[in-house]
Symmetry: C2
Subunit: 218 residues, 2 copies
């Protein structure tokens, strides 16, 4: 497996056994998720903004309005930190202290670049659409030139990155295992509910399979 | 409804109709969520760390190991940005451009304070436990003095904060409503799956009701 270079920023200070720098592990988490939290600082003031994303090879793509404060700041090439977090369950231990969560997360450090070329920009918007709702792009109206111009797309290298994963049952102090209290994991999962048609949709248009069968887990 | 003061940092530059500074709206989002993303900067380098939290009145509480880089940085009183994001659905429009997400998010700016007093610290750990799994605390072993000392608890005022909410169907360009393509919302929801008992749990201990009936939505 390809290992990303480990830097001071991506070295876990605590519980290093939970960490990974393997590209395959990182990619799998990024491909299951679809919301990232983008961090940046302006004059020392941190901002954390949630947004959709796509992975295209070893790049993370984000997009939004040309007017977005976040995108205008990031396209100047300032340091960014992008975090993706998947919650897998609540870990109920016998002691308050050892309660935990099962999760898989990725943190990426780096500087974003503006995607300017028209073809690359359209490819990025396609990737963002396919990452969010695979199969959707072929059904919809593609962006006009004006829409393309109103949209900023940024690309962040997935290069200085690490994953952190917790799985499995609680880890209690040995003497607490004798306690008569339930312990284990309550798994959590993001699921879809019944699709809600737009009130303006004609009655004869069926829900597409990619909506009915939508799921994030591979 | 109580309105929080609006500052430059909490003023939405785009789509201000989606924003709110009402404490009740903010609290409702914070009470449904249980993971926040904490942003801070060290020498201009931003970090975004996901972690559990609780709301206790008009404070946001976070906690973790004394050794945590994040908590050690934040307890010095540096600027923080804490974001909570709840995903409610994918919004499928007729054009690629108008695809969106339904969500409810809160962003809080401020500086955290260390909770040092033993009684306040224990109350905060109780609040964190109850926020994550209501009803759990009474069943488990409370923290020892050593565990209390290994745990750092920080309190952030929910004072300079705003909510941002998108709900409802897609908003398409008028001419696109004639397209013969499905449009609407695919609701998403975080649900629990069947509890998994710790392999070391004796067979005669039942799953508590607060695990069986666990849900985040009120």
């Amino acid at each position: 497996m390809q290992q990303l270079r480990q830097t001071q920023r991506t070295t876990l200070k605590r519980l290093p056994k939970r960490g990974s720098h393997e590209r395959e592990v990182i990619n799998q988490i990024l491909d299951e998720g679809f919301i990232c939290h983008v961090g940046f600082a302006i004059d020392g003031q941190p901002f954390v903004i949630p947004t959709g994303y796509a992975r295209a090879g070893d790049k993370l793509l984000i997009h939004g309005s040309q007017a977005s404060r976040m995108l205008r700041a990031l396209k100047e090439g300032i340091d960014a930190c992008v975090t993706v977090m998947l919650i897998d369950g609540l870990v109920l231990a016998r002691s308050a202290f050892h309660h935990s969560m099962n999760y898989r997360s990725v943190v990426i450090f780096g500087r974003a670049e503006l995607v300017e070329d028209r073809g690359e920009k359209l490819a990025a918007l396609f990737a963002l659409s396919e990452h969010m709702i695979p199969g959707r792009w072929k059904d919809v109206r593609e962006p006009t030139e004006a829409e393309l111009q109103q949209t900023t797309v940024l690309s962040l290298p997935i290069d200085e990155a690490s994953a952190k994963i917790r799985t499995g049952p609680p880890l209690d102090d040995e003497e607490d295992y004798a306690m008569s209290v339930w312990a284990g994991v309550l798994p959590l999962r993001l699921v879809t509910e019944h699709p809600m048609a737009d009130p303006r949709l004609p009655g004869n248009i069926a829900v597409p399979d990619y909506v009915i069968e939508y799921r994030r887990k591979p």
